[in-house]
């Protein structure tokens, strides 16, 4: 049977056994800052990976837009060309 007093004794004893942490505290700041830098670099790479589908989609969209926006031979252009040819013929060019 463990009564309250026994439990309190156990807690009191456990409180006295605070572990020695000075060895771990040594150069802790240096280790922490190194980890922070690592995480920072890793997060840049992670974001680059995450954004790669977006950049790929932008590249595809630009390619499609570029292809669609390329001027084709319009009937007007053909008409002008034909007129030019006719004029040239009439003027004795051809």
């Amino acid at each position: 049977m463990i009564d309250n007093a026994r439990l309190d004794e156990l807690f009191a004893a456990a409180r006295r056994a605070a572990p020695e942490t000075s060895r771990l505290e040594y150069a802790f700041e240096t280790r922490l800052l190194a980890r922070l830098r690592e995480e920072c670099e890793a997060s840049v790479q992670t974001w680059a990976w995450r954004l790669s589908p977006f950049f790929a989609a932008v590249a595809v969209a630009l390619a499609v837009w570029n292809h669609a926006a390329t001027p084709k031979e319009t009937p007007l252009f053909a008409q002008i060309t034909e007129e030019h040819d006719s004029l040239g013929y009439l003027a004795g060019g051809l």
Partner: protein, 184 residues
């Protein structure tokens, strides 16, 4: 950054990109953070990881520090939150540890006070790992760190009444676990 700079000034400098200021902050508060984390971690590797996790969280959330309470209090809340998450993770991957071996030490009246204190810590640690993360947290704060109900409520974000109820229930559960160990 001068040595006598306040914590708030160091926080501002860190937010401005000065890593040295953050190192200074860490240096000032690491002892207390290690003290808290050592109540939750089982070995030195876990302790180092947990302490790093607490300061990493502090670094990431430094922008949320408004300065209306001392930095130390803000960091203590963050430390408790990180320790709570650690306990929950630990519980998920917890190995099935046996209390039987520890029961022998529990009954062993060790002549050396330090040895018996270490044994008590180990027995308690093994028994507490059978508890839920909430129960472990509340007992660690109230019994091992001897924080008041009000302090514990502030650190955990639970109401004072809730802390009292949880602490009582956790003690009862711990007692039952230790009694079961005793019976074996």
């Amino acid at each position: 950054m001068p040595d006598h700079a306040t914590d708030e000034a160091l926080v501002a400098a860190t937010l401005g990109g000065d890593d040295g200021a953050f190192a200074e902050l860490v240096g000032r508060h690491k002892k207390r953070v290690f003290g808290t984390a050592s109540r939750f971690a089982r070995d030195t590797h876990q302790l180092d990881d947990l302490a790093q996790e607490i300061f990493l969280r502090a670094f990431r959330h430094l922008g949320k520090f408004r300065g209306d309470a001392p930095f130390e209090h803000w960091l203590a809340r963050l430390a408790v939150s990180a320790c709570y998450d650690f306990l929950r993770r630990e519980r998920r991957v917890r190995e099935q540890s046996s209390l039987e071996a520890m029961a022998i030490e529990f009954h062993d009246p060790a002549p050396d006070a330090q040895r018996s204190a270490t044994a008590a810590r180990e027995v308690l640690g093994h028994a507490m790992r059978q508890l839920s993360a909430d129960e472990q947290l509340i007992l660690t704060l109230c019994e091992l760190e001897e924080r008041s109900i009000r302090e514990t409520a502030q650190l955990t974000g639970w109401s004072e009444a809730n802390v009292k109820v949880r602490a009582f229930r956790a003690r009862e559960r711990l007692r039952k676990i230790l009694e079961n160990t005793d019976d074996r």
